[in-house]
């Protein structure tokens, strides 16, 4: 209802013919789409690569943060400082600072490509969020599970590895996928430090054709992958809920 009304308002607005010409031009779309789609593979590469490192690194941070006892206080504090810092700085700034700053250091043996540093920036920022997601999962596992594992003579580490983490990770898969969707969209930010991915390519096309249709083409590409993933997330959430409701009746 609301969307239909909104669509009607937009289509009947005085500027609509002009907007349609500059955003939904079929010829410009045909012209620009193949190259943008090809560049989009670079986005896919960036977020897939980043996600792998995020999932591992964030878990490491979350585990450090859940270490018990006074002995580990400095390590816990470090993990907290990390998450606070990288959740606090706007992603754009982290990308700028690393993308322009790190190569300027001219370190031996360290890549200086914007793509590399862009991915590093995404890993750093998203790991801070994902670590918090993991931590919520770890804390949701009842202490009696740890007691039970330790009572069998398992070390603290093995109790974590075999009993706590498998249950924790399973519970946070939906929020993890949610963050993954965010990451996919933020891969467009790599354009800002000169990575020629889909968004950067559409900027170039837009400037060349004096037409904004390439942006719409890029948006479609992003939506084409984020929407299916969102549905998978919904399905997983529903399945998990079904599991808990079925408990006791089975």
């Amino acid at each position: 209802m609301v969307f239909t009304a909104l669509a009607l308002v937009v289509v009947n607005s005085p500027g609509w013919p002009e907007v349609r010409r500059s955003f939904l031009n079929v010829d410009v779309f045909r012209e620009s789409f193949p190259e943008i789609a090809r560049r989009f593979l670079l986005n896919v590469q960036a977020f897939l690569l980043a996600e792998v490192f995020i999932l591992v690194f964030a878990l490491f941070i979350a585990v450090l943060r859940s270490l018990p006892g006074a002995v580990f206080f400095p390590i816990r504090a470090l993990a907290v400082a990390y998450t606070d810092l990288f959740r606090g700085i706007p992603t754009v700034l982290v990308i700028y600072i690393l993308g322009f700053g790190a190569p300027a250091l001219q370190l031996q043996g360290v890549p200086d490509s914007p793509f590399f540093w862009g991915v590093v920036a995404l890993v750093l920022v998203y790991s801070a969020y994902v670590a918090e997601v993991y931590r919520a999962g770890i804390e949701s596992v009842h202490p009696s599970q740890v007691a039970s594992a330790r009572s069998l003579g398992l070390s603290r580490w093995k109790a974590l590895r075999f009993v706590v983490l498998p249950q924790a990770v399973r519970r946070v898969i939906p929020p993890l996928l949610n963050d993954f969707i965010g990451l996919q969209k933020d891969s467009a930010l790599l354009a800002l430090i000169g990575v020629l991915e889909a968004f950067r390519r559409s900027q170039v096309d837009t400037a060349g054709a004096f037409n904004f249709t390439p942006y719409v083409a890029t948006a479609l590409l992003f939506v084409a992958i984020t929407i299916p993933l969102a549905r998978v997330t919904d399905w997983l959430v529903a399945r998990e809920r079904g599991r808990y409701q079925a408990e006791g009746t089975l």
């Binding site: 594992a149 069998l152 398992l154 093995k158 075999f162």
Partner: protein, 249 residues
């Protein structure tokens, strides 16, 4: 010289300012079954958790086969491998099948090869009538079956002593018997056990000795017949009267 299987000397334990155990002395001979009775909050669970070193005691000693398990530098994991504990709420691992629940300790804590651990697990499951549940997840089992699996999981470590912490308290009445049968069989097989329980009839049946825990001390202990029929201490008498009034003896 035959050493006691387990000996507690003046065990003290506090949580903050709350003194839960105030000097516990208790000795178990090998193959002996001791029932630990007492009201909720009297310290039964804490005492068992201390023996398994899940809680650190503040003062006193706990000797397992003559070795002080609370001394500094003792490998608590090694102690726990020899002392099995079963909890009121089963605490099975919900993400593992029955078989993996049982094999986790032997494989990961004892270093047993997986095939050997599985063979051991299947043997125990068969003995307690659970072999058909071997590949089920815990949430598919009844409470009684879950608790029996939890007992098997502890037994798979081949412990010297078993600690049972009100293992039937969370069960529906009709499921209690199947768990008690398992415990009875263990007792008959000569397992050294401490049994914290509200099942007085059962305690009377299988325990060689009953210890009444009240407010962090063992107020009275002795053979079941004497404790249940002729308790010396007024508080023991009062406790047992309440139990009888509730129809549990």
């Amino acid at each position: 010289m035959t050493e006691d299987a387990l000996r507690l000397d003046a065990v003290h334990k506090s949580f903050g300012r709350l003194e839960v155990l105030r000097g516990i002395d208790l000795t178990l001979a090998r193959h002996e079954v001791v029932a630990l009775i007492g009201a909720s909050g009297s310290g039964k669970s804490t005492l068992l958790r201390c023996i398994n070193v899940l809680e650190r005691i503040d003062r006193g000693r706990i000797l397992l086969d003559g070795h002080d398990v609370t001394a500094r530098g003792v490998d608590v994991n090694e102690v726990r491998r020899r002392v099995g504990i079963v909890f009121q709420a089963f605490n099975l691992f919900p993400h593992m099948t029955v078989l993996r629940n049982i094999c986790l300790g032997p494989v990961e804590a004892q270093g047993l090869p997986r095939e050997e651990a599985e063979e051991r697990a299947r043997g125990l499951l068969e003995r307690f009538g659970l072999l058909d549940k071997v590949l089920d997840y815990p949430d598919r089992l009844s409470g009684g079956q879950q608790q029996r699996v939890a007992i098997v999981r502890a037994l798979a470590m081949r412990p010297d002593v078993m600690l049972l912490d009100e293992v039937t308290s969370a069960l529906d009445p009709e499921l209690v018997a199947e768990v008690l049968d398992v415990i009875r069989e263990l007792a008959e097989g000569g397992m050294t056990m401490i049994l914290a329980t509200h099942e007085m009839g059962f305690a009377r049946d299988i325990a060689q000795r009953v210890a009444f825990l009240d407010d962090g001390v063992i107020l009275e202990e002795g053979p079941p017949d004497r404790i249940f029929t002729d308790p010396q201490h007024p508080r023991t008498r009062r406790f047992l009267q309440r139990i009888i009034a509730a129809g549990r003896l």
